[in-house]
Subunit: 436 residues, 4 copies
């Protein structure tokens, strides 16, 4: 037990009229929407990264946060960090947490030493997870911070880095499996390039495809039942990231025959950076059959880098959970906050309050989305818009035996002359505003 959050009581639901900044106004874990509780719908996870790792630096300034576990470069400080982290998980009442290897243990002098430390921390976690502690949503390996990865992880020009990564991912998958993790995530922070002038794009994509195939094979070998997830991001830290967006990841998976083995962890901020809306990326993932999990941290639309802010828009949350519900809800996935406090938010209380507000926005969004579906508020108009396609003649045009010239002949003969109908965008936006 850490002292860091000693003054902060567990957060409880107080209802929409509460003005207590440390209470939930919308998130009532056991309240049911349909057959599932809000806790089951949302499956909240809080991550180590950035909460317990980031020191408040930005490109023009150094550390602003002063946490008792910094710099966390000894196992003792790593345990102190874990104590604080699990205190926070408990205060927030989240059912899940997640972590990178790098977040939870100082790196050792060798791969073996690093893995040993990781396993020691996993032992430490196991005790905390017993007796009602949070479960593990996913584990992952940080293969982007250390300078050895500066030119890529599995895509590195140096094969030794590829080998180093294999050992690292194996160790993280082993620990994730042992802790009952429901997913294993890969975010390729350095899988991309800075300048094409020194890059062999084709070779690097082959390396990445081969690496991912081995990850999938290893998952089956050890009997890990969770999902393998890729987290797309278009830019930053490398200028051109290979896992640009959901559609790009899908093409990559298809190319290497992995589309039934790997899903995506979609982050709002990364969707924005790729020029999409979050709901676009979620709808695309659903359509392509690779929807997995979400990182619910938002981006500033006007900052060209990943601001990883806590979500604060009721409207955006409603549209996001609408897509989650339309996808059938989470199975192995959940709602994670891969979010950064603003670097001026120095206090322990800021850390808790930020999560309270974020969880509340998600709960509020979920309820809006649930009611829109219950009321058929959007699906009704949508079905009507495409109703022309219900006819047998229309369906015949999509059948495998339809031909371009066959359809053309019929269209010409019938003197088809399609008349546009209103898309009613503003009316639909107004409908959404009845729910948010």
């Amino acid at each position: 037990m850490s002292q860091y959050f000693a003054d902060i009581a567990p957060v409880t639901f107080e209802g929409a009229d509460s003005t207590n900044p440390m209470a939930f106004r919308h998130y009532n874990p056991q309240e049911k929407l349909g057959g599932k509780t809000m806790e089951e719908h949302l499956r909240f996870a809080v991550c180590y990264w950035h909460n317990f790792v980031w020191e408040g630096n930005d490109p023009f300034g150094g550390q602003t946060f002063q946490r008792p576990w910094f710099p966390a470069d000894t196992m003792e400080l790593a345990r102190a960090k874990a104590d604080a982290a699990f205190d926070m998980f408990r205060i927030l009442g989240v059912p899940f947490f997640c972590f990178h290897d790098h977040d939870v243990r100082p790196e050792g002098d060798s791969l073996a030493e690093s893995h040993k430390r990781l396993n020691e921390m996993a032992d430490y976690f196991e005790k905390k997870m017993a007796n009602g502690g949070p479960r593990l949503l996913w584990g992952t390996a940080n293969m982007f911070s250390n300078r050895r990865y500066m030119a890529g992880a599995s895509t590195n020009p140096d094969p030794d880095v590829f080998a180093y990564c294999a050992s690292t991912v194996k160790a993280c998958m082993d620990v994730t499996h042992r802790l009952g993790g429901e997913n294993y995530v890969l975010w390729g922070g350095r899988e991309g390039y800075e300048t094409l002038l020194n890059t062999d794009l084709g070779r690097e994509l082959e390396q990445m495809g081969r690496f991912l195939s081995m990850v999938v094979e290893y998952k089956h070998k050890i009997g890990f039942k969770g999902a393998i997830l890729i987290e797309p991001k278009p830019q930053e830290p490398t200028k051109h990231q290979y896992d640009y967006d959901v559609a790009t990841v899908y093409g990559f998976l298809k190319r290497f025959g992995l589309e039934d083995e790997v899903k995506v962890n979609v982050e709002q901020g990364h969707a924005i950076l790729a020029g999409h809306s979050f709901e676009h990326e979620l709808a695309m993932a659903r359509t392509l059959g690779i929807f997995g999990s979400i990182d619910m941290n938002r981006n500033d639309y006007q900052s060209g880098w990943d601001t990883d802010q806590f979500p604060n828009s009721p409207s955006e949350a409603a549209l996001a959970y609408y897509e989650v519900l339309m996808a059938g809800g989470f199975t192995t996935g959940g709602t994670n906050f891969d979010a950064k406090l603003r670097r001026q938010s120095l206090d322990a209380e800021d850390l808790i309050a930020a999560h309270v507000g974020a969880m509340d926005i998600c709960a509020r969004g979920l309820k809006s989305a649930y009611r829109m579906i219950e009321d058929d508020a959007l699906e009704g108009p949508r079905r009507a818009r495409y109703a022309g396609w219900d006819s047998a003649d229309a369906q015949a045009m999509l059948a495998a035996d339809a031909t371009l010239d066959g359809i053309a002949a019929r269209a010409e003969q019938a003197r088809v002359n399609p008349q546009p109908r209103s898309g009613a965008q503003e009316k639909l936006e107004n409908i959404v505003n009845r729910y948010v």
Copy 2:
């Protein structure tokens, strides 16, 4: 023969010291680079669109250009337009041209009437193409300007639009085939959506996939030997375009089993809008085996819409043709200018001078690229950077029988500790500047 360009003589090569704005300084068609002439390398095409169609409008202003063939709403004006167009092709000495149906004939009252007019114009073209006139690089159908397409072409909620498109594409493919076109292009200007609130993404992608499959089947049926090309674009006119970029198109093709049947026509401006560099998109197309052709019109990096400007950067042209040469050069594809004059460039001479400058920039870029390859200026350092992968041990890690745990075990045993090496980006940029 039109009077519009009567004062303008055919453009000739005068060498780098010429100050004649209507002469080539770099493009010397019969000059050889390796086994091919510049004409064969570059395969220049000029398109009807926007040259003879766009009136100079922008969202805040109306027509600025006054051309004798406007508004081109009769067959007589359509022929006058064709006369001017072929005069321009001749003055520039381009080996190819290309067009949309909509560019060359006024739409008729029915599909049949529209097709009849298209065929009449094709007859007219055939005569002009005989005896040394330009060949057809590609034909295409405009399925985005008319209000019937406002909600999509093949992805329309109305199946009648789908049928209308089938007839339209068939007619355009027939004409392209008849005129000896080397490619058939599809740019899905309205294949996308404005708001997800009224859109069934999954259904629309299925429609688009089925449509493209029929296009490919029809190509084989009529014996068209040219390539089918998709032109990716991320945004504009619809907010979310389905053919976002090369990687997205690849995933779409894989999903519908069309990756060996369809290639891409990559436009510089569209690459930029998608957050990529042009050379990235070209390298990606090469890597994925779907490189087809290029539209060499650039985008303003700071305007969020497609400015379709004539290319004017020697550096960018060099890097673009570097990728074209590395891809083995064009086969069916070529260098097209899908470019717009600035709306204040009112004169006939502006139209010619803009192409002269653009062709010269491409020629200059080609020569820079060719010499960089000849000198091994970039490939040498690149090979050295990845040389570690040449060893048998490294290659074994990519082999089908390699396993994550096998590689991990060896890495741990060997106490692998990779040391980063300089990526030398600035030095490589300096090398490029020796060639541009």
Copy 3:
């Protein structure tokens, strides 16, 4: 009286639970917030442009809207347009409207003829405005659509255009004055440049400054009591617009000694395009003493052009009206919708429903803002944050007789060592979410 909106009844307030798309859920005109009714706070205006002028074109497609008054190229159609417009103003119950000269009358063959037509339409308006019709929020001149303005209005390289503009603005000011307009607006759609290569920036700014000075002098000459407003916009239609944003306009006004004579009309969409938030621009205008009026049409954050969409975000509206209220509310200004329907929103009902939703969002935002101020929800924490500056010592540092070295000496002597305090951004965002 037009038939266009014949089926649509005047819109009334039905309360938050209403599901009627043609009723207000939040805007209750006579409901009081403090000493003013909502009507008095919001001062809604609807503009001719784009509602009755825009045909649905975009850069890749033509007209989608079919209105009975199109193409409005005769005075008869101009009157039909006015009939429809005033029907819509009545249906919406807005207290104000506004227009460009170009919106309300077809241009004549000469300046004199154009002005005569404008005055005839003003006669027509006067009758409609009598007996409870809407008042005029502002008039303005369209000096950007006609090709004569393609290279600028007052900044044109051709002095005849400058003279033409003088006549045009004089005529519009006269009509605005006659109709009791409360403001006169200038938006410099072509006051900027496409390429610096052909532009004399210094000369053009001088022309623009001189022109504005004459506008101000003329206002006083005719006894117009309304405000002169400039509407900033950074980009589009010209690549570099001179009235980039509020701070730029302020510098321009200072340079020509006009900062007490001219205010700004701030548009949300233009704020976004300039890389600011709307509330930033409003706070800046307040700080610089030039806050005038607002255009409440939003921009898509991810489209690089001005999308001019109807507002639909409760959160954004709350923050905008917060700044309006902090600035003391509107005096001559108001809330205008310079908004475009989406081009697929074809129906008369779409036009009304879009405004209903927009007005409701504004009303909802106003109420949120009003309550935040009443509760001291944001001002309380803000005062506390700067409380250190209340001390006499702190104030002395800002006094005119303070010196850098004097302050330095005291700081060194006192060994000043400032300790950062939390900025509490997330907590403040959570507070806002209690009100929206």
Copy 4:
């Protein structure tokens, strides 16, 4: 003397055909263009920051560079750093250098101690600057990296920070003055805000204005003859920076009556981030009479943060120096590289080679610009475009006694009907390409 660059010989001019990466191909210091040598025209400066300070970190990764003087937290390491820095200045043969206080000395425990250390390092510099060492282009204070500045420097909510800044700037001005610096620069890295919710914009701008006034007064008090320069930047590190761009800074200076006392240091990367071109910002500074100096580090147009890359575009350099020459060239200012190596460019040689390429690009740009002016290549067409304004009638419209109604009357009487003329943008772009 440091060992870090021991293997690297002074860089010399070898001419355009040289393939030596460590030689100048274009920069021939004593070569004359008109009455000045290239050294006198360009006035190159190299800065401590980022060259000797930045460790290669980015938001997702730690230190990549390993320099013998890191972490430079003792005076001994500070001297080692200075030795290396001056070695590099010598190798490059630059006539100027520049620095932040923070770059050259470790911060002390108190203001007094920090100043003492700064002065010790100034002593050390003085010796190195004697006997042909570089002169000081400018000094500046880093008031953004330390956490005490996280909420602003002079704009901080805590008056102690304001006082701390006064002491810091005074010390830096004193040292700059002592070392014969030709300018003193202020870049307000934290003068801006993250969220308006906790910010009093009006108050902060007043603080900033008062602070700058005291800086100017202090300059006169100590007899510093150099220029005071503000470096505009729109965004990053704070979301909303107060010194957004040149026009904004001008308005700020006018507001506080400082427009004759302060000039701007314009950085290419910051111009880009503000949505402008670099040449726009330079032309604006010239027009407003506040052109001072330039930071010639470029931005990636597609990365939303400041990439601070070494310049590498011949075309951009030509247009930049064109504006510098049109402004009459530098007086106190110069060409500084506030540039960052890419974080994978690990070697000492990369540091030198990056500057060699950058200096060469500037020299090449200067020569292109000089020849364009000599040939009247752009000014000729520009004068012709505005020639209409040369007439007495046209000039009369700009005179102080001209009136809107007077001009209007004449325009109407004369039935003015302006006819647009081509802006010839493509032709002008082609002309530029003859020179780059």
